[in-house]
Symmetry: C2
Subunit: 162 residues, 2 copies
Amino acid sequence: MSSPRTLKAPALDPSTVTARTSSAYPTEAFRRVVTGRSKRALGDALGLTTFGVNLTTLASGAASALRHWHRRQDEFVFVLEGELTLVTDEGEQVLGPGTCAGFPGGVPNGHHFVNRTSTPATYLEIGDRLPGDAAEYPDDDLRVRATSAGPKYSHKDDGPYE
Amino acid sequence: MSSPRTLKAPALDPSTVTARTSSAYPTEAFRRVVTGRSKRALGDALGLTTFGVNLTTLASGAASALRHWHRRQDEFVFVLEGELTLVTDEGEQVLGPGTCAGFPGGVPNGHHFVNRTSTPATYLEIGDRLPGDAAEYPDDDLRVRATSAGPKYSHKDDGPYE
């Protein structure tokens, strides 16, 4: 997206940040949904702690996440390149560059983005880091709680996956 | 930036959000620095409360703010269009589209962005809303504290402006 630059902190060229493609989901079937997702943690790279900022690219066919909603965390997404289909309880909408979406914590409306086009789509995603967050996955036998040791996934009945 | 769309919450076309051009700075000389600045409060429009998201455009010659640093608030800026000059204690850097900057709360390095080009520049700015924030302005006789009634500006010796 950006031409090579030599920027120094507190500025940052996102292309210098290593992209993460892994997923912490507890099953291969869940992880397959986000295959083709690539996240650059810009906020962490800049030393920010009270919210996270990822520059995320979805290859054709990839999803941002399993459809979910957060009990506490506010989330914001701004589309930079390509087209993303937003899926919520109300159905689907296509978001292009320069459009955005927001998900206040505690609103039980599961959401995710899917790249249904043939070219990559890129967006910024921001989420706060208030303690005590959890997320619910209406379409899957999954829930997650934030813990000091990282996300703790379980079945809907709170039984462990592993 | 975006073509007209009909998006429904939780999605949003930023062009449907009214832009604010006013400034709360206590003197005309201070307000003049940000003349040409236009902010669309996307996060507020989407019902987000734990952080703010503004889509901000600086006309030629306008600055994002007086140079300042926050005692608590983390800030993040992502350039979308045009070029912005970032001014900090270390000097100046030019940021183009797709580059970003981050300012962790409590780091006493005053910063602002100035549009030194002949065309508008647009960026996203995100800041948390943790209580107890304040900001210092190294180049000006100004400081500000966040209060429940909004920002409270004063002289550096804490004397009131009005």
